[in-house]
Structure formats: C-alpha cells, structure tokens
Subunit: 272 residues, 2 copies
C-alpha cells in the first residue's frame, strides 16, 4: 500500500525535504543539476537499495522542472544502473542481484575453442568456499586502497572459487570493519546471493564501479596449495578496488587465477 496524502494536504503526498527547487549556476544544464540532486539524495541513504522513489511527476513538481527534464536526468542514472525503471510500477534504487551483475565483476571462464563465443555463451556459476574469515588491522597496502588509516580494523576474507568442480580462483577480500559494522562469518558465508548483493542488503552499500590492475606472478606457496598448484607456476593476479557513491572505495580484493584452463575475459567498447 502506497502512503496517500492526508485530506488536508492533498498536494504533498510524499514529503522529501531533500528535493527542493534547484538554485543552479545557470551554465550547467538543468537536467545535470537534477541528476546531481538525485545522486545526492541516493548518497544520503534517504532511499536504500530496492526502494521506490516518488513518481516522476512528483519529483518533477518538487524540483520545479518539466517532466521531460526530469526524465532525461533519470535516463542517465538508469543507463548507469544506479536506478531502475519499471513501467506501471515506478522508479527504484537499483538492486544488483541479477546474473548480469554477478558477471559484471566475475570474468573467469573456461578457455574455449571458439574465441568469440563468450559474447553469446551461457556462463557457469562459480562455487564459493570460504577458507578464512578474520578480523585484523589494515596493512599499509590495504589502508591505501580503502583510503583508511593504517591499523584500522578490517575484515579479511579468503574464498576459493571453483568451476567445473575444480578450484580456479582465490579471492582475498578486505573490508573496513567500521563501514561493514556487524558483518559476521555466518552471515557472509550464508548469503543468499553475491557478496555485492550482501553489501547492498545488509549495509546499504552499492558498488557502482571498480578499478582492476592485473599482472602475472609466480604462485605463492599458500595460494598454490589452495588452488592445487605447484609453487611458482605463473598465475594471474588481479587487484580490484570497488567504489560506491562519491568514488568511495569500499572493498579491496586480490584475486589469483589459475589460467591453465581458464581465461580472464573482458569486453572493451568505445563507449564511455
């Protein structure tokens, strides 16, 4: 049931004080100002992942812009998967619980005969085993990646990912314990979907993009054991920093991939 306005105030159906008429500079287009206002609203947490925003006509009225201008701003946010529109229902803060979003950040797949078929092929889900879940203090590298202070409390999680029944990837995940307050091993391992979906549901944190740096390395003793490899074998090492609203780093992850039978796949495009 959608909350309806009381009869004595028929024109203020959903009070959203954050959405006040814009007082923009004039040089930047109105629809950009609207977009920034919406982003600020989302960054504030006033509407969490999965929640519905007021209707387009309502927001347009609150911001004192035309419906077309509002739609243009929302269009861009929908394109960036920050918002999701559903015809007949409304506009929602995007929930990244889709297959598409799993594979947005999981790029390992079997080496294939046809080099181009990853563009069309159905992909396999990795099976995840949690090898370790510890609370620790941030190292220099971790602190720099997460932009926190040296020694701040962090969760360090070690996962083994298998494809076709064989271990292929080792993930070392590092999270600020201050940001992910209340996270437990039980909750982490028993999550219903991906970790990024868990971040959204339990902590209201949306991962919007990530930076990755890949390099070849010789397998360390520890990782080699977890992946069933000999120490020193060439492996692919991927360092990822995941970013949320306002470019805030929220996760630092080092993935080590056994690329003897698998590849790390990405699709580049001239977009963006």
């Amino acid at each position: 049931m959608k909350p309806t306005a009381p009869s004595f105030a028929p024109f203020v159906p959903v009070p959203v004080p954050e959405l006040a008429p814009l007082s923009g500079s004039g040089t930047v287009p109105l629809y950009r100002q609207v977009k920034r206002a919406l982003l600020k609203l989302l960054e504030s947490g006033r509407f969490g992942p999965g929640e519905a925003l007021p209707s387009e006509s309502e927001i347009a009225q609150l911001l004192q812009v035309s419906i077309g201008t509002l739609r243009r701003a929302v269009d861009e946010l929908v394109h960036e998967h920050v918002l999701i529109r559903r015809q007949g229902k409304g506009t929602f803060v995007a929930l990244h619980n889709d297959d598409r979003f799993l594979f947005q950040f999981f790029h390992v797949e079997p080496r294939s005969a046809d080099a181009l078929d990853s563009l069309t092929q159905e992909r396999e889900y990795p099976v995840v085993d949690c090898v370790a879940f510890d609370k620790a203090r941030a190292t220099e590298t971790q602190a720099a990646a997460l932009r926190i202070r040296l020694g701040e409390p962090v969760f360090c999680i070690s996962n083994r990912l298998s494809l076709g029944g064989r271990p292929v990837v080792h993930d070392a995940i590092c999270l600020s314990a201050l940001v992910f307050k209340g996270l437990t091993e039980k909750r982490f391992t028993e999550r219903p979907s991906t970790v990024y979906n868990l971040y959204q549901l339990d902590h209201g944190i949306s991962v919007l993009r990530a930076q990755e740096r890949a390099r070849a390395a010789a397998a360390s003793r520890d990782v080699a054991r977890i992946l069933g490899l000999s120490t020193g074998v060439p492996v692919l090492e991927v360092h990822r920093i995941a970013l949320s609203f306002g470019e805030k780093p929220v996760e630092y992850r080092v993935s080590t991939v056994n690329t003897q039978q698998h590849d790390y796949v990405s699709v580049l495009s001239t977009q963006r």
Copy 2:
C-alpha cells in the same frame, strides 16, 4: 561550402536513397528502428569516418519521424561513440583519433604507489617499434579468430611497445589481407596516429569494440628476447579480437606484457 539544392528541387537537398521512410514491425520502438537504419547506413560505407551526415531535421524528414525521435536514436549512437555531434556544425561519423581512444584499447601503465590514481592520472604514450611485417597464410587460430578460411592471406605484424624507454609489451597483430588490401609496411609504420585510426582512414574500418582474454604464461624465447627478459618468466598474455560494425572481427592481436613494473589496468562499471 555545403552543397545546396538546385532551385528546381528545393526540398531534396541531399539525396540519400538509403534513408527511406521506415516500415517497422510496430512492436519495436520507432527510435530503435531509426537507430538500426542509421547503423545500416554507416555499415554500408555510404558515409565514411569523419564525414558529416545530413542535418538532423533533414534525416528526420527523410525517415518521416519527428526530430525528437531522431535525436533519441542519434543520442544512443553518440553514447556508443559511433557518431559525434558538434553544435553549430553537424553530426559526423566518429573518428577515433583522440587520446581517449588510444587509451580505450591500451591498458598498460606503471605500477603506482597510489592504487587509485589511474582514475585521474595522466598517462604515458607508448613508443612503438615495428619488429616485423609479413604477409602469410592464416593459421587455424588466426582463421577462427577472424572468421576467415584456413590459409587465407593475412598480414602478421610484430610490434614492440616501450614505456619510459624500456620495452614492456610485445604485440603480434594479425589482419586479413583481403580486408586490408593495399596495406604496406611503410604505410603501417609511418602512420600518423594509432593503428585503429589507420584502419579508419585507409580502409574505412571502425573498431567499435573488442573482446580480450587474458592469462598468465611463461615467456617464450622469442618474446623474452624482444622484451629483454629471461625465458620462462611469468608474463601476461592478452588475446584480443577487435570488432567492427555487424560484430565483424577485423583484427586479432596477442599482446605479451612484462608485468614486473607495469600493470594491465581496467575500469569496470555497472553500466551496459
């Protein structure tokens, strides 16, 4: 000087028979049909890279759609960097001669202290030396990647890329000699800009996206020598297939990266 219509035919300023009123199915939105019509027009080569399209109002009239609908279609193509709009001038087939496009497909940069600064940092241009330029017959792998027949003539080009005066990447590039008819070593090595710009200018081929598969490997003897490494050192091997209009593969490239001092960097996003 823009060609103007003769006085006896004032309403047909630029004859473009490819742009006829649409006879779409009805279930797919009009602006998508317009987009496909424009893509087909570009795929046909009727307008080459850098050329101006008829004005928006003209195209809208030819296709019998409103200017707003046409703009929506063009918006998407501009987003995908297929077209470029310049206010006051016109709409042009995108020319990928920008820095941005170089780095769209060149992802190697020095390992940095601050893990996040590749998002803001200025990047260094690689210095390219052509090690070899040969005409050969397509191997099984090359033929599969380029979707041509085994043994068809191909150009095989070997490049060494240096950053900070030291060789870091080896590129083995394979092109169909039938598609890149008339390509010469001289023209290839003396190109004014990137190879993808050369493909556009000399052959009218726009690379719109690419698929890459990365893996760790032990450096081969040949590549190790070119990069100044010891044989067997772990290196990053990136297999790229570059695609043009209609998903046509036009280039197959194997890059080998010395990742001792450098990383292969990419930015993922929830977009697309």
